[in-house]
């Protein structure tokens, strides 16, 4: 079954964001006056909300400025993870992905957006500390007030935003990435920011090495009690009604296994050493089974490049989804220093690997039908 034709949105308010209807270009362009731009901005913000985020923390906060025709993108420091994202890199990459959704959708509907960074935000993007303002404005996306051109547009990228999800499953190694598609991905990296480079790994020995690096990263962090507890806090029971966090079923876990892992990670129940090893090995196997592992390296490890890496990642993920490929992010390898340095050596680069994701088609069709992650409502992330 194609990965985009299945009903994989669970019932309940926590998943209502995925039921957003894709507007056709005429509907998008039809309204006039002040209300129209507000409607359009809300729509773009709703699409931004669907972008993936680290641990599904959904750290973005949005302010819609209809007068200025803009959406302010901010980060909530309370949603930046102290253990796994101490410098806010992954939260920033996540925000970049959200900006990408809004920008790509605007373009798809015939409005060219402009993006302005608040470069003074970089030092503020850290986990929450007492006494600080939790909201850090990071970027502003503006759209023209003109009525967009309603000429026929390809909206497959918008449809992909509504369908895309992380598929953390074993892929079918027999499925190859078309060279033309690979070239498109590389073009995306270059177009988004000249400081980004895409490394596309398809050969078995290098995929194995990346799998090992990921396993090393996962083993490292999962054996750190503080990290383990943090992961456990965001690792949810399958029947959780939380609007953020990752349910076990998104990893293919049964209700019992999800409960056991959550309890084990938070220290509330037993988890045997081989179970954590199996968790790490699953990431390794996932890498090895992929059609390709993509590594986006950045010339500089700063706000501008992190956001750009997130934007490039999301555009690639959507493009891949349109082509029938699933995607799974592997943030551990970018945040744990030893495997990150090892990866630089393997890629023969001095640039920092900032985004690592794999792509392919699930080996077992059922894995492609795993449910979406939850989302807060748009109102809940407005500030």
């Amino acid at each position: 079954m194609p990965i985009d034709t299945i009903d994989d949105v669970p019932n309940g308010d926590a998943f209502a964001s995925w039921r957003l209807a894709a507007l056709d270009p005429d509907a998008f362009a039809a309204s006039a006056g002040t209300m129209s731009i507000e409607t359009r901005l809300h729509y773009l913000a709703s699409l931004a909300l669907l972008a993936p985020s680290t641990h599904n923390t959904v750290p973005l906060r949005l302010r819609i400025d209809s007068d200025a025709g803009a959406i302010e993108f901010a980060l909530d420091r309370c949603a930046i993870l102290p253990q796994s994202d101490a410098v806010g890199r992954q939260a920033t990459v996540s925000l970049g992905a959200a900006i990408a959704n809004a920008a790509l959708a605007a373009s798809a509907y015939g409005i060219e957006p402009s993006i302005e960074l608040r470069s003074n935000a970089e030092s503020l993007i850290r986990p929450f500390a007492e006494g600080c303002d939790p909201i850090v404005p990071v970027a502003r996306l503006s759209i023209a007030r003109d009525v967009p051109n309603a000429a026929a547009r390809k909206l497959d990228i918008v449809a992909a935003m509504l369908r895309r999800k992380m598929v953390r499953a074993e892929y079918d190694e027999r499925v190859k990435l078309d060279p033309m598609l690979a070239q498109e991905l590389a073009d995306i990296a270059r177009r988004v920011h000249r400081g980004l480079t895409l490394h596309l790994i398809t050969d078995a020995p290098t995929l194995l090495a990346l799998g090992k690096f990921q396993e090393l990263a996962d083993s490292t962090v999962i054996n750190r009690p503080a990290f383990s507890r943090e992961l456990g806090d965001w690792f949810l029971e399958n029947d959780s009604e939380s609007t953020v966090g990752m349910r076990g079923r998104e990893f293919g876990l049964s209700d019992d296994a999800a409960h056991r892992f959550r309890a084990g990670l938070t220290g509330a129940g037993p988890l045997l050493p081989d179970e954590t090893v199996a968790f790490a090995k699953a990431g390794n196997l996932g890498m090895r089974s992929s059609s390709a592992v993509a590594v986006i390296t950045a010339a500089r490890d700063d706000l501008e490049h992190r956001l750009a890496a997130g934007r490039a990642f999301e555009e690639m993920a959507l493009r891949l989804w349109v082509a029938g490929f699933a995607v799974a992010m592997h943030a551990g390898i970018t945040e744990v220093e030893a495997p990150n340095m090892a990866l630089r050596g393997r890629l023969r680069t001095f640039d920092r690997p900032t985004v690592v994701f794999r792509t392919g088609k699930p080996l077992r069709p059922l894995d492609g039908q795993r449910p979406h992650a939850s989302r807060p409502s748009l109102e809940q992330v407005l500030y």
């Binding site: 074993e170 079918d172 190694e173 027999r174 190859k176 690979a182 070239q183 991905l185 590389a186 990296a189 480079t197 895409l198 490394h199 596309l200 790994i201 398809t202 050969d203 078995a204 020995p205 290098t206 194995l208 090495a209 090992k212 076990g248 990893f251 293919g252 876990l253 049964s254 019992d256 296994a257 999800a258 892992f261 037993p270 045997l272 050493p273 081989d274 179970e275 954590t276 090893v277 199996a278 196997l285 090895r288 220093e337 030893a338 495997p339 990150n340 340095m341 090892a342 630089r344 050596g345 393997r346 890629l347 023969r348 680069t349 001095f350 077992r364």
Partner: protein, 440 residues
């Protein structure tokens, strides 16, 4: 964009990165591929070396040269019988007679070389170990390989004991055994090679050598834990630690025992892409006669059995469960409808496999029970599964000695099977090293 090259499907898998280069001495001397400087330093320079090592020439001082031909003949001299029961070889001559003729020829060439002021005669094979910087000179294939099996005498026979020594050697030499998973599987490979000394094997393993493997990895050593510093992109990056593929290390080590051994190396492991090639061969690569399955990937354990059954290829597996070595045969060459598991129908086994996908630890062991027998775990190993007591390791506990015993049992079993011995009637034999018992 940087991209890595996809694997070439029709590559000659014998040309792995550590493969020692074999050069016929007479040809090497005539072509100038091997020459000696006045101080006996050897210089090897040829196109084949460029392909193998990425260097057009390597110099070997006398301290890195190991001329082993004289020693080979001396050792054979003690071992080969001149009595009436010396095995018959071609032309009605005994092995001993052939040996004597060969030594005479060799000594004549040595005398000639000495008279001409040459370091070595036009005899034997240079083995260029470009990975370690050593140069060996070994006897021609027949005599080198004969020395490797001489001590085995005629202990291995067909069930009827009807075959001659030469016929037995021919059967063992031409058998092609495929090994998937070469950690414990490397022990079985060792057992098979010591017992049979075949001309060709296939090995598949996607993993690299880790120091924690050395408790059970046959011939693993510090030589294989990491690749040399020269393999690093940035010599100053201490995290950049290139590793050595298990499939390549084991091929390399075995080729330092028998440089004439051809090893088809699948360093990406068995995959859904290459599994047919592994079984059926192609492009000059032979099919396999028996599969040795020693992987820990549950899906692949089933997949290789399904494909083996389709091809009518027997599968042997030695499972090191704590102190027990479990021998299990799938005799698919005899029964094309034989079940994949032991005392379990296929539907139940596949259902058990599917149940492992949901992250429930207990389901994994239920699957192992379905495949290998529900009584697979006992004693300390069972306690580990139950999560009882101290657990210093997150991986499945594996006893180095049990792995070694598994290799010995497996090597013998493969050789016996190649010579026509039936598989155990129950399909399984359990060697309990703790209680010193054997059961089926």
């Amino acid at each position: 964009m940087t991209t890595t090259l996809p694997d070439a499907p029709s590559q000659d898998r014998r040309a792995h990165s550590l493969r020692p280069l074999c050069l016929d001495a007479a040809t090497a001397h005539a072509c100038g591929w091997v020459r000696y400087e006045p101080d006996s330093t050897a210089v090897v320079a040829c196109e084949a070396l460029s392909h193998a090592a990425g260097r057009s020439a390597i110099t070997f001082g006398p301290d890195r040269q190991y001329p082993a031909i004289r020693a080979t003949f001396d050792d054979l001299n003690k071992a080969l019988s001149s009595l009436a029961n010396s095995p018959r070889a071609e032309g009605g001559k005994t092995l001993r007679q052939l040996y004597d003729e060969e030594v005479e020829r060799y000594e004549h060439l040595v005398a000639q070389a000495q008279a001409d002021g040459r370091v070595e005669p036009d005899y034997g094979t240079y083995v260029v170990d470009h990975a370690r910087g050593d140069l060996y000179l070994v006897a021609p294939e027949r005599w080198h390989r004969l020395a490797l099996v001489t001590s085995n005498s005629k202990l291995l026979t067909d069930p009827a004991r009807a075959l001659t020594w030469a016929e037995i050697r021919a059967r063992l030499e031409r058998a092609v055994i495929g090994f998937v998973g070469v950690s414990v599987g490397g022990n079985l490979l060792e057992g098979w090679l010591r017992e049979a000394r075949p001309r060709r094997v296939k090995v598949a393993d996607p993993d690299w050598v880790e120091l924690t493997n050395l408790n059970r990895g046959e011939r693993m050593s510090l030589r294989h834990v990491v690749a040399p510093r020269s393999a690093r992109f940035d010599p100053a990056n201490p995290y950049d630690v290139p590793r050595v593929a298990k499939a390549e290390y084991i091929a390399y080590e075995q080729q330092l025992v028998d440089p004439y051994l051809e090893v088809d190396v699948y360093k990406e492991g068995i995959t859904r892409e290459n599994i047919e090639r592994f079984f059926a061969g192609g492009d000059g690569e032979p099919p396999i006669d028996i599969l040795v399955e020693e992987m820990d990937n549950l899906d692949l354990k089933i997949l290789v059995r399904q494909v083996a059954r389709d091809h009518g290829v027997d599968v042997i597996m030695l499972s090191d469960f704590g102190h027990q070595a479990h021998l299990m045969w799938n005799a698919f060459s005899e029964r094309h409808d034989a079940p994949l598991g032991l005392r379990t129908d296929d539907a139940s086994l596949l259902e058990a496999l599917e149940a492992t996908k949901l992250g429930d630890r207990a389901k994994v062991f239920q699957f192992v029970g379905a495949l290998c027998g529900a009584d697979f775990a006992s004693d300390q190993f069972a306690a580990w599964i139950a999560g009882e007591g101290e657990q210093p390791t997150g991986s499945l506990p594996q006893s180095g000695a049990t792995a070694m015993a598994s290799g010995a049992i497996g090597g013998k079993e493969i050789a016996l099977r190649v010579l026509g011995q039936p598989v155990p009637a129950t399909g399984r034999v359990v060697y309990d090293l703790l209680h010193r018992e054997v059961r089926t």
